[in-house]
Symmetry: C2
Subunit: 326 residues, 2 copies
C-alpha cells in the first residue's frame, strides 16, 4: 500500500467507520433476500470514495449537522445500484474478487435489488428535504443510465472516438463524483460559488478516476484488480488507451491490434502483444497524461477555499486517483 493511501486512510479513519455504520443502518429492506443481495455488493471492500467526498465537501463548507454520514449513503447506494445493473450489462464474472450478484442469484433478482438500492438512495435524498439535492441525485441517475446505454450501443465498434469516450465517462462516472461533492456543499448551505467549485472538483476527479480505471485494465493482473485482465476488451469496451493507440498506429500495427480486439477469446500472448503495441503508440502514456491534467483541474477548482485539514485531504485524494493500484 502506498504511503499516500496510508496517510489518507489514517486521516479519514473515523469518517469511514461512520460511513460504514450508516450504510448498514440505512439499508432497511423488509426482505432478508434483498438484504443479502444488497450486502453482497455493498460490503465487499468498496473504497467508499463517493460518500467520503460528500462528507469532506460538506465539512469544507462548514457543515455542522448530524446527518452528513446518513446523506453520504446516497452516493454509495446509487453506486452499488449501478454496479448491480452494470454487471448484467457487462456479463462479467467477478467484481472485487467475488462472483457477481447476477451469478450468485439471477439476472432479474439482481436487477430488482439494484432498483431497491436506487430507490433507497432517492429516499435518503428526500430526507435532506432539499429539492436541489434531489434534482442532483435524480440527474446523476439519468446521466449514468444514458452513459451506460451509450457505451453498450457502441460495444465492439472500433471507430469509437475520444470525444465519444469522454461523453460516456462523464455521464457514467464523473457526474456521480460531481454530484457527491455538490451535495456536500448544498447540505452545508454553502454559497453557489462554493457549490460550483466543489462540483467541478468532483467532476474532474471523476474523469481522472475513470481514465485510471480504464488504464488499470491494461496494467494489472487479476489478483490485484479483482476482475479478469483484459475484461474491458473482452466485453467489447473500447477505452482511451486503446482508442488513442488505434488512432495513432500505422496501418500494419492497427490491423494487428484490431484482429486481437475483435477476437474476444484472445490469448494471454495476444494481450501482451496488444499492450506492447499500445505502449509503442503511447496509449497508456496519453491516458495517464490526460488523467494527470484532470487531477490538476480538480485541485485548481478548490484553490480559493481557505487552507484546512479537510482541504488537504481533498487534495491528497485527487493525487491518489493517479497513484492508486486498484
Amino acid at each position: 500500500m502506498s504511503d499516500l493511501k496510508n496517510k489518507i486512510l489514517s486521516l479519514v479513519k473515523n469518517d469511514l467507520e461512520e460511513i460504514e455504520a450508516a450504510l448498514r443502518q440505512n439499508l432497511n429492506p423488509y426482505l432478508d433476500l434483498v438484504h443479502n443481495i444488497a450486502s453482497h455488493i455493498l460490503f465487499s471492500g468498496g473504497k467508499r470514495l463517493r460518500p467520503l467526498l460528500m462528507v469532506l465537501s460538506a465539512r469544507m463548507c462548514g457543515y455542522d449537522g448530524d446527518y452528513d454520514k446518513t446523506f453520504s449513503t446516497i452516493f454509495e447506494y446509487l453506486h452499488a445500484a449501478t454496479l448491480l445493473h452494470d454487471d448484467l450489462v457487462d456479463e462479467a464474472n467477478l467484481r472485487r474478487g467475488k462472483p457477481v450478484a447476477n451469478l450468485v442469484w439471477d439476472n432479474p433478482t439482481a436487477v430488482l435489488a439494484g432498483d431497491f438500492l436506487l430507490a433507497r438512495s432517492l429516499s435518503i435524498a428526500a430526507k435532506t428535504k432539499r429539492p436541489d439535492v434531489i434534482e442532483v441525485v435524480a440527474g446523476i441517475t439519468e446521466n449514468m443510465s444514458q452513459g451506460e446505454i451509450h457505451q453498450l450501443s457502441r460495444k465492439g465498434h472500433l471507430d469509437l472516438t475520444e470525444e465519444e469516450y469522454m461523453e460516456i465517462i462523464q455521464r457514467k462516472t464523473a457526474v456521480l463524483f460531481q454530484g457527491a461533492c455538490h451535495t456536500g456543499a448544498l447540505v452545508a448551505d454553502a454559497s453557489e460559488e462554493k457549490g460550483t467549485q466543489l462540483a467541478a472538483y468532483g467532476f474532474n476527479m471523476g474523469i481522472a478516476f475513470q481514465m485510471v480505471d480504464d488504464l488499470l485494465d491494461y496494467t494489472l493482473d487479476t489478483k490485484v484488480l479483482g476482475k479478469e485482465i483484459g475484461a474491458d476488451l473482452k466485453e467489447g469496451k473500447l477505452t482511451l488507451p486503446v482508442i488513442y493507440s488505434l488512432k495513432t498506429a500505422d496501418q500494419k500495427d492497427r490491423t494487428r491490434m484490431e484482429q486481437i480486439i475483435l477476437n474476444k477469446d484472445f490469448s494471454a500472448e495476444d494481450f501482451e502483444i496488444l499492450i506492447a503495441k499500445m505502449n509503442k503508440y503511447g496509449g497508456q502514456a496519453y491516458t495517464k497524461k490526460l488523467a494527470t491534467e484532470y487531477v490538476s483541474a480538480a485541485k485548481v477548482a478548490i484553490r480559493t477555499f481557505n487552507p484546512s485539514k479537510t482541504k488537504d485531504i481533498l487534495l491528497m485524494l485527487a493525487d491518489y486517483t493517479l497513484a492508486r493500484e486498484a
Copy 2:
C-alpha cells in the same frame, strides 16, 4: 367497449390528451436509442390510469397550477420503468400485444432504459420542490422492487398464502396508485386529512385493480388481453384465484390442479380443466368478491369530499376497475 368506459373517456378526454403531450415533452433523453426504447413501452396503448388519478386527485383538492400534467408523468414513467424491468423478470414475450423491449433490443439495454425512466420520474418529482412528494415517489420504488423480488423468490411455490399474495400486490401495485393520488393532494396543498383519504382511495383501488388483473389471466384470450393466456401460471406466478382454489379443493382435485400448474408447458386443454376446477372451488368468484370490497373501500375513502364532477369520475373509475375487460 362498455358504456362506463365510454362515459369516463368522454369526461377525461382533454386530460388524457394533455397527459399524452406531457409524456412526450418530458421524456427528453439525449440518445435516440433511449428515446426509441422508452417510446416502445410508453406509447403502446397504456391507459394512463396512474397519471390520470394524480390529475383528478389534485383537481378534487382545488389545484389550480399549471403543472399537474407535468407532475402526472412521474407515475407513468415510473410504471413504464417497472414494466421494462418486470418483462425481464417475467420472461414474457408480449406486452400490450407487442413484443417486449428486452426481446426487441436486449436485456441490458431494457434494464438501463428502465433506469432512465425511473430517474426521469424522480427528476420530475424533484421539480415539485416538495420533499414530501419525493419521499412518496422514492417510497413507491422501494416498495415495488421489494414486492417484485418477493414474488420472484416465491415463484412456483404452491404454498404461497393469501396473506403473502396481499403483501406482494400491495407493494408491487397498490402503493403506486396510492402514491399518485396522495401526490395529487400534496401538490394541491390539501389538508393532511384529504391527503390520507385520497391515498386510501388509491391504495384500495390499486388492490382491486391487481386482483382483477390477476383474474383476467383466467378469463380472457390472447387477443383481448394482449399477452399470452395462462401467462402468470407459465411464469410460476400464483395469484389469488389459484391460491384460493388450491386451498379449498379436495385432495384429488388439488393434486390434479398442482400437476397442471407445475407443468409449465400445460396444454390449452389442461388450462381449461384447471379453470373449471377453479370455478368449482370458487377461486374466481372469491377474487371478484374481494376486488368488489376493495372498490367499495376506495369509494368510501373519499366519501366526505364535496360532490363534484371530478369526484364522480373518481367514483366511476373505481367501478370501472371491476368492469374492465383488459
